[in-house]
């Protein structure tokens, strides 16, 4: 097991290394740099600043400097957010995004399983149709529409009913609920569909019939037989979903004014903030690799047939 984990981590390391390298050279190949702005700098200014930030060095040298610093866990200072370390930006942004993301994943996972179970239980009856309409909406409507709508709705309710329910992130836990729900919506819809088809298969399986013959009621059957067996595909996609959701969503974060990592990343790209781009990319890559590994291990716990590290 530990050997397996080590092997996976090693291959993950090379994956991240590869991503970082491609991003680094891709980023430099794109015209423009962090210093370019609407108004042109004089040649002298450009030279002075290039020298200051080391852009005058050959690219491979900059690359090795980047590797060296990254190896020491230092992504350097942001170009566009003066005086801020990229490490700090990531730490702060991620803590916000992760709070939101974990909530969103909880919503998505529980919602997906619940709705998926309902649609499967009531398949081809009205609850099924109703939920599936929402699922299609959830998958096809972009999240900023939901986000704007949800916010507008809260503001409207607040006004009509004289409430003060937070309509944007103000640092409190409650204010994260609606953004998290909206953020998790797409994943929830996807999971619902996945859960539905997977549960439908399980419902018709022989061991569920056996469970019925034992005299279990439908809740007991769901809980100890159907759920665990139908949840496997859900878990598989949960890993990447956790990685992508907890590392932030630009749209949700800007609409609900949550200072998360997604916003930082997009702003970094928009402004060619080299250090910020590299920092967030390496971070996101590593996190993704880690989450997929974690999910594979969890998978082994849920499905005893899969022995982590032995299968091949």
């Amino acid at each position: 097991m530990s050997k397996y984990v080590f092997k996976r981590l090693l291959s993950g390391f090379f994956t991240v290394f590869f991503i970082a390298t491609v991003t680094f050279f891709g980023m430099h190949a794109i015209p423009g740099d962090p210093l370019s702005s609407d108004k042109v700098m004089s040649e002298a200014s450009k030279e002075a600043l290039n020298k200051k930030y080391g852009f005058d060095k050959p690219l491979y040298e900059q690359y090795f400097i980047f590797l060296k610093n990254t190896a020491q866990g230092d992504f350097g200072m942001s170009f566009t957010k003066k005086g801020q370390d990229v490490n700090d930006i990531i730490k702060q942004g991620f803590s916000e995004s992760a709070k939101l993301g974990v909530l969103a994943i909880l919503f998505a996972a529980f919602g997906g399983i619940l709705w998926g179970a309902l649609t499967a239980k009531y398949r081809n009856k009205w609850p099924d149709y109703l939920i599936m309409i929402f699922v299609i909406l959830g998958i096809s409507v972009p999240s900023f529409v939901f986000a704007s709508f949800a916010q507008l709705f809260i503001v409207f309710l607040n006004q009509e009913l004289n409430l003060v329910f937070p309509y944007r992130g103000d640092g409190s836990f409650v204010s994260l609920l609606v953004p998290a729900l909206v953020l998790g919506l797409g994943t929830m819809a996807f999971l619902t569909r996945l859960m539905r088809s997977s549960l439908l298969e399980v419902i018709n399986s022989d061991f569920v019939r056996t469970a019925k013959a034992k005299g279990l009621n439908s809740w007991q059957i769901f809980k100890s037989h159907e759920l665990r067996n139908s949840i496997l595909p859900v878990i598989t996609i949960l890993g990447p979903a956790i990685a992508s959701i907890t590392t932030g969503s630009f749209v949700i974060e800007t609409i609900f004014t949550i200072p998360g990592l997604g916003k930082q990343f997009v702003e970094g790209v928009q402004q060619n903030d080299y250090t910020l781009i590299m920092g967030t990319t390496v971070f996101y890559g590593s996190f993704l690799v880690l989450m997929v590994l974690v999910v594979d291990i969890v998978y082994g716990f849920v499905d005893p047939r899969i022995k982590v590290g032995e299968s091949k």
Partner: protein, 538 residues
Amino acid sequence: MRIINRFAVLFILLLISSCSEQGNGVDFNKRSVSVIIAAEPPTLSTVGPVSSIGIFFQGHIFEGLLRYDENNKLSGGVAEKWEITPEGATFHLRKNAKWSDGRVVTAHDFIYAWRLGASPENEYNFITFPMKNASKIAEGKLTSDKLGVTAVDDFTLKVDFEAPCAYFPALTTFTTYMPIRQDSFEKWGADKYAVDPEKMFYNGPFVLTEWKHGVSLKMTKNNYYWDKEKIWLNEINVPAITDQSTTRFNMFISKDVCMVNLEDSNSLKSALKRRLETPMKSFSSGFISYLEFNNREGRPTANKNLRKAISLVINRSDIVNKVLGIPGYKPGSTMFPSWLGGYEKLLHEEYDFNLPLESLSEAQKYLALAKEELGMEEITLTYLYSGGPSTDGMAVYIQEQLMNKLGIKVNLDKQIFKIRIAKSLSGEFDFLGGGWGPDYNDPMTFGDLLASWNQNNRGKFKNEKYDALVVQANNSVDQKERMDCFYEMHKILHEEVPVFPIFESGGIYLADPRLKGFFRNIIGSDPQLTYARIEEDE
């Protein structure tokens, strides 16, 4: 069932606990207002990258030699008196102007700042060019101590001009001209100076007391400010940072901010639908947007007749009203926008900028001429632009117009901002969607844009007569003569079409009716809340 009950209780508890403070867009008792900003300022250093959002804060926490007073008129700031001649200017500093730690503001604080401002490391060093030797310092040919500014004594600052500069007093309100405390700047270094409240000193009406990066900022009244009697407000809050217009609008509706711009037709519509009691007012951003043609050799757009043909088939008011539909935009017929001052009144009141356009049928004639001169049967052009949905709409409109009316095929090259800038500099375009905002309150801030030596002249337009007029206006202190020059420049642009102005941008905004005494500025801090006050509730 029990689970559901538990959830219900939890939810209600959450609701109750969620009664956070809201509706403090304006607070009479606390004398505080809240505003929302679109992006975080990269730094508050006045010699760092210049941004309009930075200027909003800098305009409240720093004060230059001159300032705009409670009537938005230019008046004495740190300087009580000043004299200006074609050769230079002398500023007499008041002795009671203090930093936020009680230290007196002296001429040396300005000299220190301006030398930094002129150095090659400051991208905005061109703004110091009216001072003697500034451009040479910017090029690295002279050290910054050769800058034409000296302290006669602690409270007398003498400036030598490179060339006469009639608008220099107004220029001293620009952010690069703010004083800097040498001790603080050296302690933190150029990169870390002014990125946190404790990493700078303040000499303006307000001090920054809170800066949670990416989250919120707060300014409070500066008790050391020499004219603090005039300042009514205690606090200016920035509770959130977002460029989402709907969120900003919702914050206004929820009374969490005192002011909001209606930047898109959606928020305007919903504002109208809600029949808000708040009256809508318009503001100008000062920006002019235009198509800029590539005059580099080998580009078809280097041909004047082609440019004229194109200019005749694009209808500005159609773009503004039908394509963009953004409230507050005005069709613009000139590179000198309508808000600019002239020699006495507004420039547009003194000169006629609506030179008649030729008829549409002329366009075909120009096109035929252009084809002949270029020796081309078919013309295909690349349009470089960046931005959001509205600029997409404009691009498609232009594409259609040129195809339908002139048979010119247009390839759209949409890029993110930074790439557009890079491509425009290297000349990889036939025409591009460009824009220009003012740096100081004088037509020259637009006028020298198309001077052949200007780096921002992306299309490399070169016209000797035009260049001569720029020089003439630069060297004159006679405002009438200068304005005549600008008008002549406008006529040349109208004739040669190196750029085709499309609109002046601006907007509609809503402000809490109790909020008084603030200004929406084109130059400088926008909004300017220094002299704002709140009327008491009934």
